[in-house]
Symmetry: C2
Subunit: 420 residues, 2 copies
């Protein structure tokens, strides 16, 4: 049985930190193949990706990934928990992934594992503490943090200090790592998790800091029109080349700003009741959204006015994407109850991957979509409606391209799977 | 009782033809007051007005109109029949309008009146002919034209030749004139209709032709960036000044192109079933709309590909506006059954009009809206939902302004009634 390494990533864009992670993982595990599960045109932070998923697939393949799968749009633009759970399920249900590597700000996997175990098993005492904290009006992340601290301090072998738990649960990548570990446990998956310590800036750092700059800071530099020279050092040469090609064709750079008219139009059109049905909108947030979409004239201003302690930028951005793509709380709940991610969508692969793809056809518990035009052959309603959201996402994403000629719909069907 | 002249117009923009019409009418009738019923931010041809309704109200007042009323958005962007009927109803229900003057390509009001009589009375024989023609698959306007010709030729005093009827029913303004006459008859209104022969180019002429150029040709010249010198000759000085001021503030010029992302986004988002519910969409047009919104990247291309003999540019443009404003066939039908236009919205007036406005409060059969912020005091559902469409229209129209700072929502409330 071949050794297959799975990686969950957005590659938005594929930078030197990503390359470091891939190389370190390969060095450590010596896998026969690497499979990446990647977000499509919209990402976990509630943003359109800076360049489209086909260009980012090419980046991944050219940098050494063998197969790129897409996380269905329904899950790509969700909380760390939903996103990570869906990604791990995809890797698990592929049936050939033996290892999974991920980065984390916190480097001790045993400590992470202890917390992941609480989250996976949800012992009664923990659930009661969580409920108590939520009843006090704390936001879910804070209530959960406190519940873990309280539960852990009551354990006889409660060896994690509260400060340590604080530290772990405030790192974006540590949180994702916890969710990966938790899901592996819950699924009783045979995938072996491997932690690769991160180098360089934290995930959220806004400004570039040399070779290992965060993807956020790289996107900010591109969007604010910084010189290519200043950006080049943070990207592998091939990533830079692909990024430049996308931008030269007028297929980037894309940001929420690229959809300003459409987003404001959708919100101004919608009734508060409709907005309340969008995923991640709760407890009157619809009124804030409605109000500031009238009182503001730019997305930046809208987000900064809407923001509260409880409603973070990321959450508000996700709400905007949910409104754009009409992702409703009820729909997500229904999919969660019924199926979870319901297909393996192959965005691209390299020549080496031919064998593993043959294998995948036998091992995968999920249907495989290589040719989008054939998706409707899967007569399952779940597959169809989940995949139609990927189609919609591409049809709307195209409207953000700076070059009007690139704004064609139906690119989901015309782009085809990428083979290098 | 004062003599009050009513005029239905879009003043998009107010040009020398409009001024000629106003002056001729005043010369002929010597009214004490003139009231214009004007489209708001969206017009009968299914387009956003080139500058907003407040600037166009100012144009009307500065050029000599005493009071400007707004046709509710629900009716402003409809077929000649719905538009004209609503406009005449507003004038009639104001309770003080004694005369109504309008232009027409065809100048003999007696002939127009004969046709209007058939349309108003709808004799059984005429209805049967109309049905027969519709059953043959003819479009409604053509079936109606043929039925009038056939019915008229069967009359003993059928003095109108088929060629003449042809001529009348192919002139945009003659068609509107017929609808005005028809509605006056149907309402048994005491308003006296007066026909003022038109000067200069026809309503639809695409290119400017000197002093009496059509509004369409003037808009085309502005939108294609022609020099002010070439446009100036067709506009009264004060109109030119107001137009320039709007454009200098970045509040124009506006066209369907200004809403390209929003329109494509709405159509790509919507299911064919939803599109089928929009006013003026019938018999599979939803599939054409859906298809070409994916296959096209500009509004111009979309309209030219969607167009057929049956679905004219004007109709398709109206469908786009109905999609934008969510105007549904069922809603229009419900309003038609229940009430028709359900308020008098005053956009502006001059100092001379103070007396007539006092009068209006006593004579009007419809509630008067002067302060939009107070509209909800009219607790009638019909008024509220009809007026909320005017609010939505302004909130979305603002998103088309070239200057981002002008794109605020809520301008319906902040602009206030214009007094000069």
């Amino acid at each position: 049985m071949p050794k297959v390494l799975g990686i969950v990533a957005e590659y938005n864009p594929f930078h030197k930190g990503h390359l470091y992670h891939l190389k370190k993982s390969v060095q450590l595990l010596q896998p026969d193949y690497t499979i990446a599960v990647m977000s499509g045109n919209f990402t976990q932070r509630g943003e359109p990706a800076i360049i489209d998923k086909w260009a980012r697939t090419q980046m991944a393949l050219e940098n050494g990934i063998d197969v790129v799968l897409e996380i269905p749009t329904l899950y790509a633009c969700q909380t760390a928990e939903l996103f990570a759970t869906a990604a791990v399920k995809i890797l698990d249900q592929a049936g050939i992934v033996t290892h999974m590597s991920f980065g984390s700000e916190y480097h001790n996997i045993k400590d992470l594992d202890k917390i992941a175990m609480i989250l996976a098993e949800e012992p009664l005492a923990f659930r009661e503490l969580l409920k108590l904290n939520l009843d006090k009006g704390l936001s879910f992340p804070l209530a959960r943090l406190k519940a873990i601290q309280q539960y852990n301090s009551n354990l006889q072998d409660g060896s994690l200090s509260s400060d340590l738990i604080d530290l772990i649960l405030t790192g974006s990548n540590s949180i994702l790592a916890l969710e990966y570990l938790k899901t592996i446990k819950k699924l009783k998956s045979t995938i072996q998790p491997v932690l690769i310590p991160r180098l360089g800036s934290s995930y959220n750092a806004a400004n570039m800091e040399g070779e290992f700059s965060s993807a956020t800071s790289i996107r900010n530099a591109i969007l604010s029109g910084k010189s290519w020279e200043s950006i080049a050092s943070a990207l592998p040469d091939i990533s830079l080349k692909i990024l430049k090609a996308s931008i030269n064709q007028g297929r980037g750079p894309i940001s929420l700003k690229s959809f300003e008219q459409l987003l404001f139009g959708i919100i101004r059109q919608a009734s508060p009741e409709e907005i309340a049905s969008w995923m991640d909108v709760e407890e009157g947030l619809e009124n804030r959204i409605k109000r500031y979409a009238l009182e503001c004239t730019s997305i930046e201003e809208f987000l900064s006015k809407c923001k509260t302690k409880r409603y973070t930028y990321t959450r508000l951005q996700r709400v905007l994407i949910h409104g754009l793509l009409r992702i409703k709380t009820n729909d997500v709940a229904r999919f969660q109850r019924r199926c979870g991610p319901s297909y393996l969508r192959i965005l691209g692969f390299n020549s080496k991957a031919t064998d593993i793809l043959k294998n995948l056809k036998k091992t995968s518990k999920l249907p495989i979509i290589t040719k989008p035009a054939h998706y409707y052959r899967h007569k399952t309603k779940d597959i169809n409606s989940m995949f139609e959201l990927d189609i919609l996402a591409s049809n709307l994403y195209a409207l953000g391209f700076p070059n009007p000629e690139q704004r064609l719909g139906g690119q989901e069907f015309t782009q085809g799977v990428l083979m290098i």
